[in-house]
Symmetry: C3
Subunit: 429 residues, 3 copies
C-alpha cells in the first residue's frame, strides 16, 4: 500500500517530476531498429516520458532525436523531408541536423545569422541489440549503453518486440516482477506454449501455488526468488531479476527454450511500452520460433495492422473466450501470456489506486522494487548519489530456475546461475 | 426552473451525495434476468450510481454483486473464473463468495490468516419479475422487494427490456412523467403502433393538444392526471403514476393492449438505464407481440448488436428520416416511440441546464416530482424520515385512461381504476 | 512571439471574451447557400464562436438563426418540423419564427399568454455570394454586408467551399497570411495545379525562396508584399490582402486563372471553418474547373462523405505518401495545396503555444495582423472606436502579382492593381 503522494511520485514521469528526472538518467529503449531501417528513411514520431519527439536517420546513417515541432512556428517535423543530412520542415524549409542545429533557413535572407541562433532540443540515440536507445538526461551524466545479456547477442539469437500497454509503466512492471501469478493466470497454457514447453518446472508450479518469496537487493536492483516445493528434500527456485529502473528477466523453463525479458517504458503517466525480448545465449533462434513469436507465442503478441497495439485489447475485452475458460484451456479465457498480463494490468485502470491494495507475502518483490524506485527518485530530487542500474556491471545477471536441497539458500546455491557468463549455457529446470 | 444548486442536488448520484444516498435506500433494477441465466454463468460488469461492480451467480445459483476490483491488486474480477461457489480473480486466484468474503487465497502460505481479513464490498441481489435487483444502501434499512404490478406477474405476461440512455436519469424520467408530449412527439405514429392501436383515446389526443393537468400526491409518489376534451359533457383522463424514486406507469390505450411502465436508473450523473416493461394483468403476451417488442415496437427498441445501446442513437441522429417527417409518418422524422423520447431527452445535453428552462402548466407533474425527490434527498441528508415509495403498499397503483363526466374529479371517478387489484382487468379507453 | 496572455486574447472567442466580442461586430460566413436550399428545407446545426445554433429557411424563404435549444425544456430544434413559417420543436410543438418569437404553444391552454413571453435568441442571416452570413453582435452596431469582390460576382464566376480545420482560426489564418511558405510547402506541385499553371511567377518562386517582406496597413487590414528577384533590374512582387478580421486574398498566378481567397472563421477556440473561394472577375468558371475544385484542385479539398471534413485529415496523417515525397512530386508527401496547409497548421496542436515560436523577417505579415487584431479586441473591450474592416470601402481591394522595376515601391507600382475595379481584368504575372 502506498500513500496518495507516493503513488503520484511513482507514476508521474513528466519533465521536472522526481521520477521523470530519475528515469532520464538511464538509456531508454525507444524504437525497434526496424523502425529506422536506413539512411534518409521516414522520420518516426516518438513519445517518451511525456515528451513529443521525432526520430530520424540522416543520409550518413546517423541517428537523431529532436523536438517534434519546428522551432519556427511549431509545425510537426513528421511531415518534413529527410534528405541531405538533415530533417527539413515541410512548412518553410528550416532544416535540422541530428544534433538539432538549424543548418538551413531558406525563408530568411542569405546574409541573415538568425539560423545560428536556432537550436532544437536534441537527444542522443544509439542502436544496440535490435533496439534504438535514447538518452533524455543531462549530457554530463550520460551513462554507458546498457549491457544486459540480450543487448549484446548476435541478431539471430534474439527477437525483440514492443507493444503498447494502456496503463502506467509502474503497473505494467509490477506484473513483470510478480512471479506468483504464473501459477494462476498462466496456469493452463504455459506448459503448452512452444517457448516454455518441456520443463519439469510446470509440475511444481501447478502443484504449489503458494511460493515463499525471498527478495534480496542486487547491485542493480533485486533478486526476487520464489521457492516452491519439489519433495521433502528439495525446493524449486525461480529467480527473477529486476534491474533498475525498468528491466525484468524471466526465470527460464528448461535450457532448450529461449530466455525472456522485458523493459517497461513510460510514454506518459498513463501509457507505456512493454518491450519483450526472447533470446538464447548459445544458439540461434529457429525460423519456427521466430514465426511463432510474430504470431503471438511466448511473451509476444499479434498486432492491429500497422500498429504496435495488440489485436486483443481493452476495446474487445482481449477477445475473451468464456468457453475456453470453462474448458480450462486458459485460466482467464484470454489467449496468450502477454495478453493475459496486459488484461489484468490494464483492468486496474490507467493508474491503479495503490492506497486501496492489500498486499501479501507474495508481493514482496513489488514492495521492494517500489521502495528502491521511490528512494532513488527522492535522491535525484535532493541532489543525491548516482542511482543503481547505471553501471553496466549491474546488468551482468541472469534469471534462473534451479532445484536446490532444502538447506541451501538461493544466494549460495544459485550464485553462479545468477551471474552472466556470456555465451555459456544458463541454469534452468 | 431550478437553481444551479438544486439541479446539482437532483442529478448528482455518486456515493455521499444527498440524491445518491436517497436512491441507495431503494432496490435498484440492475440486470435483466437473462444476463445471469444460471449457476456459474459469465460474470457481468455493473455500473450503478457511479459505482463499478461485478455481478455473478454462483454454483448454487446464488446471486452476488461485488466491487469490480480484486482487493489484492485491483485486477478486474470480470476476467475471473466463476466456479465452485465463488468468483476467483484471474490474476492470483483470490476467490470471493457472493457476500464478498475471501474464501481462498492460493498465493499465500496455507497457514496464513490473511484471507480472513479480506472482505470485498458486496451488495444483495434478488430476482423478481424478470429483473435482478440490487440494494446498495445501509443493510439495516433494506426494504422489502418492490411489488409493482409487473414485478409479480408470471413470465409470459410481461416483457422487460433495458436500453442505455446517454443523459441524466432525471432528464430521462421527466420525459416519462411528461404526458403532454404524446400529442406532439408521438402524434403520427402512436395510433399505428401495434401496442397502442384500437383506442378511442387517439382521437382525443390528436384533437386536444392542450391537456389540463391535475397533479396530486399519492402515498408513493404522484398521480399525474391529464384532462382532454371529449365533448360538451365529458373529459378524457390519462393518469400517469409516478412512484418514488424512478418508476412511471403509462396510461393505457384500450384494455386489449399491454400496459407499459418504466424505471429510470442512474448509471452515473450523465448516463442511465431506461427500463421498459410491457405487461398484461390477465393474459399472456402473444408471440407476435413479443417478437415486435424485440424489434422495437411500443416502448422497446432495437439494439446495436451485442449491446443494450439502441441502434438509433445520437451518433447517427437517431436515423432521422426527413422525408418521413415531411410525409407526416413521424412528427420528428425518428422511428419508434422510445427512440423519439431518447432523441429529445438526450438532445438537451448530458445534464440539461434547468436554470434556463421555461416551464408551463403542462409541466406540473415534472415540477412536483422534482420537488418530492429534492425534499426526500434533503431529508435523508439531514437524518430525516423514511422516504416514500419504500412501502410496498405504495406500489399497488395502476395507470389509467378513463372518460368521466365533466363534473366528476379524477380522484373520485378513477379511484378504483388507479388501484391495483391483481389479476383483474384494468380501466382503459 | 506572444505572451501567454496575448495568445489567449488572440484565440479565445466565446461570448464575453474580448476577441469574441470583436468578431461579433462582423458578418460571419456561416453556411454555404446549398445548405439551406429552399423554403422549409431541413434545419441545420450551426456552431459559431462557441455558440450552438440552428439555421433554417421558412416557408416564405426567410432565413433564421436561433438558439439550438427550445426555450421550454431545451430539446434540440434540430429534430423539429420546419413548416408553415416557423420551426416547431418536436417535443411539445412550441414553434418559433425566424426572429425567435414563439408563435405557437400547443401544450398550453388556448387562453394562455405564456407564449408571448418566450423569445429565443435569434440572429440575422443574409445570403450573398453563395454564402449565408450571420451577425451575432449588438443589433444597433450591425454593419452592411461585406462587399469583397467574390461576394458580388454572378454565381457562375465563383466557386465557394468550406472545410473543417481542427485548430484555432488564428493558426489557420496565419497560414493564409504567410506568403513565404509557397516556395517550400507547395514547391513541387503549385506549377502543375490546373488553377495556378502557366505563370512565369513559378520560376521566380522556385529560384528565390527568401522573399523580402514589406507590410503596410491598409484601410481594412494589411497589404502584405513579398518581393523576389527577377533579374538585376526587376522584382517580382506578390501582394496578399488581409482584411479584418479573417479574410485573405491570394496573389494570382497569371490572369487566365481564377483568383483565390479565404475566410478563417472560429467554430470555437480549437476548431474553425476554412472557407475557400475561387473566382474570376471577367469570365465564368468552366465546367472542368468546377469539377476539378470539387475533386480537390487548387485551394479546395475532397471530403469525407456527407461531411465538410477533408478525406485527408489528421487521423490518417493526411494520406501522406512518402514515395511521392521522395520523388519530389510533393514537398511534404501530402497531395493538394489546401491539405498541405491544413496538415502543417493542425500539426502544431489545436492552439499553438506562441510563447515558444521563433519568428523571422518573413513572418512580418503575421506579426502585424496579430497586432491589429489584438489592438482591435482591446479597443472593443475598452469601449473604443469602430474596428477596421467594417466599412465596405475597405473590402474593395485585390491581391496582385506584378513585376516592377527595382526602384519602384509596390505601393506606387501596384497601386492600381491593388484596387478593386469591378468587372475588370486583374494584374497577374
Amino acid at each position: 500500500m502506498l500513500s496518495r503522494e507516493e503513488n503520484a511520485l511513482l507514476t508521474e514521469v513528466g519533465p521536472g517530476t522526481p521520477m521523470g528526472e530519475l528515469l532520464r538518467r538511464y538509456w531508454i529503449p525507444t524504437l525497434l531498429a526496424e523502425e529506422l531501417p536506413g539512411p534518409d528513411c521516414d522520420p518516426v514520431r516518438v513519445r517518451l516520458l511525456h515528451e513529443r519527439l521525432i526520430a530520424f536517420r540522416d543520409s550518413r546513417g546517423r541517428l537523431g532525436l529532436l523536438d517534434e515541432f519546428c522551432a519556427h512556428r511549431a509545425a510537426s517535423l513528421f511531415f518534413g523531408r529527410n534528405e541531405e543530412c538533415g530533417l527539413r520542415c515541410a512548412y518553410h524549409g528550416w532544416k535540422y541536423d541530428v544534433e538539432g542545429r538549424c543548418v538551413d533557413m531558406p525563408s530568411e535572407p542569405e546574409e541573415s545569422t538568425f539560423k545560428d541562433k536556432i537550436r532544437l532540443r536534441a537527444y542522443p540515440l544509439e542502436e544496440r541489440g535490435g533496439v534504438i536507445w535514447a538518452y533524455l538526461g543531462p549530457p554530463p551524466l550520460r551513462p554507458p549503453l546498457p549491457e544486459l545479456e540480450w543487448t549484446l547477442l548476435p541478431e539471430r539469437q534474439r527477437f525483440v518486440s514492443k507493444r503498447l500497454q494502456e496503463c502506467s509503466y509502474a503497473q505494467a512492471m509490477e506484473g513483470g516482477i510478480d512471479s506468483s501469478h504464473v501459477s494462476t493466470l498462466h496456469r493452463f497454457d504455459i506448459a503448452n506454449d512452444p517457448h516454455f514447453k518441456g520443463s519439469r518446472g510446470h509440475a511444481y508450479l501447478k502443484a504449489d501455488t503458494r511460493p515463499k518469496f525471498e527478495v534480496v537487493e542486487s547491485p542493480g536492483g533485486l533478486f526476487i526468488a520464489a521457492r516452491r516445493n519439489v519433495d521433502a528434500d528439495a525446493y524449486y527456485w525461480r529467480i527473477t531479476q529486476w534491474i533498475m529502473p525498468w528491466y525484468t528477466l524471466i526465470p527460464p523453463f528448461a535450457a532448450h527454450n529461449p530466455l525472456g525479458g522485458h523493459a517497461w517504458v513510460p510514454i506518459d503517466d498513463e501509457t507505456c511500452w512493454a518491450w519483450s525480448i526472447s533470446f538464447h545465449p548459445t544458439r540461434e533462434l529457429s525460423d519456427d520460433e521466430v514465426a511463432g513469436m510474430r504470431a503471438g507465442d511466448g511473451i509476444h503478441v499479434e498486432y492491429e495492422p500497422g500498429t504496435y497495439r495488440p489485436r486483443a485489447n481493452a476495446d474487445n475485452d482481449y477477445l475473451i473466450d468464456r468457453d475456453a475458460q470453462r474448458r480450462r484451456e486458459t485460466f482467464s479465457g484470454i489467449r496468450g501470456i502477454a495478453i493475459q498480463d496486459a488484461a489484468v494490468q490494464e483492468s486496474m485502470g490507467r493508474v491503479v489506486d495503490r492506497t486501496k491494495e492489500r498486499l501479501g507475502t507474495s508481493d514482496a518483490g513489488i514492495i521492494m522494487a517500489r521502495h528502491r524506485l521511490l528512494q532513488a527518485a527522492r535522491a535525484v530530487r535532493d541532489g543525491g548519489t548516482r542511482p543503481a542500474g547505471l553501471d553496466v556491471g549491474s546488468h551482468r545477471v541472469r534469471a534462473a530456475s534451479v532445484i536446490l536441497p532444502r538447506g541451501v539458500s538461493f544466494q549460495v546455491g544459485a550464485c553462479e546461475a545468477m551471474e552472466l557468463r556470456p555465451e555459456t549455457e544458463f541454469a534452468a529446470v
